[in-house]
């Protein structure tokens, strides 16, 4: 029995222990990390009252610039709006990452006890799928999706309109006392945003570079055409001053030009032949064309060409 247990343990430890250790380490690291990043990105709204409305200015999670959310109320007076730490409302069923612009505590007053009021949150930071989640600790399920209407206004501004009944399930004070406390915040799907933006931006790079490629291909054609035209102009000028050449002596037409590699080989052969006739033989081509001196020479040439790309500081 003991031996069997030992065998099982050995198999387990060999196969799974390293993986388990790694997983534990990563999980621990992840937990520590998550707390670290979130603290840095925690939104800190600043409120400013202008007449009947209150404007919150904050840097939301995953943003570098400030956004504004305007709060107003209909059917009641907007008394105050304040920010709330998510830790107080943290429950397993919600993820702070989905609440990019923090939680708010909205206080309404001066309404008939038991009556309904409408709270509006207006911002160009919201999108058409933004929802408003309400947190009410007194309920068995504290987090509730409000039936907030999401209205599109001009200039890409969205308005969330939440209807709250005094003493109703969305009212955190739970009493029909002519005052409403609404705790909640706008919610967007973190993963939907992350994945959506991943695809859009990855293919965005393809689009940008493809457009650049097209631009370069077109400009390349233009420049090559200009170069050909210029060359043809030079040819014509030369031809005008030159004696007429018999048809059989004319070089092949542009379309039938020799392969550049072959042309280079012919040129090299001619050069070597002429150089050889002037001085003592300097090159022996009888050996392998991939002899060490040839490869060394090519390496030297390429190294010289590479100098321009040698970014020493990168």
């Amino acid at each position: 029995m003991n031996a069997t247990a030992f065998q099982v343990f050995r198999r387990f430890s060999c196969k799974w222990l390293p993986a388990l250790t790694l997983a534990t380490a990563l999980t621990a690291a992840t937990a520590a990390w998550a707390a670290f990043g979130e603290v840095i990105e925690k939104p800190a709204p600043e409120f400013n009252r202008q007449g009947d409305s209150i404007t919150a200015t904050l840097i939301p999670r995953a943003k570098s610039t400030r956004v504004q959310i305007q709060f107003s109320a209909a059917g009641a007076r907007l008394l105050d709006v304040e920010g709330m730490d998510f830790e107080k409302a943290e429950r397993p069923e919600v993820d702070v990452k989905n609440f990019k612009s923090a939680l708010f505590v909205i206080h309404l007053g001066d309404l008939t006890p038991g009556a309904e009021a409408k709270v509006s949150l207006t911002s160009d930071f919201f999108i058409s799928s933004t929802q408003f989640y309400v947190f009410n600790e007194t309920l068995p399920q504290p987090w509730v999706i409000s039936d907030a209407a999401n209205l599109s206004l001009p200039e890409r501004v969205q308005e969330l309109v939440v209807t709250v009944k005094d003493g109703g399930p969305l009212d955190s004070d739970g009493k029909a006392d002519g005052r409403i406390t609404l705790v909640g915040g706008p919610r967007d799907s973190f993963w939907g945003y992350a994945l959506g933006t991943l695809f859009i931006r990855f293919f965005g790079i393809f689009i940008v570079l493809c457009l650049l490629m097209l631009g370069m291909i077109i400009s390349g054609f233009v420049f090559q055409w200009l170069a050909r035209r210029k060359a043809a102009g030079v040819d014509k000028t030369t031809a005008a001053g030159a004696p007429r050449i018999e048809e059989e002596n004319v070089l092949p037409a542009a379309g039938n030009r020799m392969d550049p590699a072959a042309a280079a080989a012919v040129a090299a052969a001619l050069h070597l032949h002429l150089a050889g006739s002037q001085t003592s033989p300097i090159l022996d081509l009888s050996g392998s064309p991939q002899g060490s001196w040839a490869l060394h020479g090519r390496a030297q040439m390429m190294a010289e060409r590479m100098l321009v790309f040698n970014r020493k500081n990168r």
């Binding site: 931006r201 493809c210 650049l212």
Partner: protein, 382 residues
Amino acid sequence: MSWAYVFELIQNIMITQTGIPNLAIKEVFMIGVAFFFLYLAVAKKYEPLLLVPIGFGIFLVNFPLVPLMGFSEHGNPELIRAFYKYGIEWEIIPCVIFLGLGAMTDFGPLIANPKTLIIGAGAQLGVFITYIGVLFFGFTLKEAASVGIIGGADGPTTIYLTAKLAPHLLGANALAAYSYMAMVPLIQPPIMRLMTTPAQRLIKMRQLRPVSDREKLLFPLIAAILIILLIPAVAPLMGMFMFGNFMRECGVVKRLSDTAQNALMNIVTIFLGLSVGATMQADKFLSWKPLLIFSFGLMDFVVCTFGGILTVHIMNLFLKEKINPLIGSAGVSAVPMSARVSHSEGLKADPDNWLIMHAMGPNLAGVIGSASAAGMFIAMFQ
């Protein structure tokens, strides 16, 4: 004055004004890390121009009570903090480095074969895969983007983006980016061999057409117009890059171009290295974070190499004149190391196959691609 008073005075001086009693184990460890980087730079010659100032920056700031990275009583930044604040926090140094890089770059191979731009885009695959991968490990979106860009293998871009989005990760990200850039010859070849068949490695590519000076002159203007119109957020980096290249190609400001390539580049490299190294203080750096970043950075680099080669394979399905897939790995913007690796792997397969100039195309495209990816991320968080 009694002896007791004198001893107390000495004790106070020792404790409050000298570093010895304040030296902690973690600081000694970080000084060891600094020595390791200095060793890599000096003895192994791994990116010495960056690792020497980075290593020395780590070395200096990990002594206790040193007035280097803090603020004075009057709120003024101390020496290296000033370099960091005005150079990196204000996002000046990465852009100046891009100016120098632009002045150093010959876009000829890319202009001669613009198709290679697609490879530069494909090689950004790792950036986005890593971006999603690290989100599963609890990173915030901004942190994920700054870690993802490591795979683009572009040091200044990594520093620029990280300083903008997640400055607390600057040290780890910069070090990971430069370390993996130095390790390109070790990381890429196995992936290249895995992703290609011997027959594919033998593909010979047609010699690139000559590019006229006028084309080279117009390229930075055309590229700047298109890229900045499409991704305005990348204007600081790309604008400086193309400005540097325009100075090089116009030929009438040779002195400015030389300064941008040499003196200016060297000056900002010193301040950049010291500032990046100085962010690695023991109390901030010694945690799981750098380890995670280094692991994800490696994965990122591998996926980027994979993405570049895969892109060539996909392109070859549609092209008459096939591209040697070995140049796909050069789509990361480690210029010119990854192009050299493509070339040397090509030579191993066929000693007569010279891929270097063909590989420079995707390599330069990688610079534009990684800067574009950074621009995309910056725009995302605006």
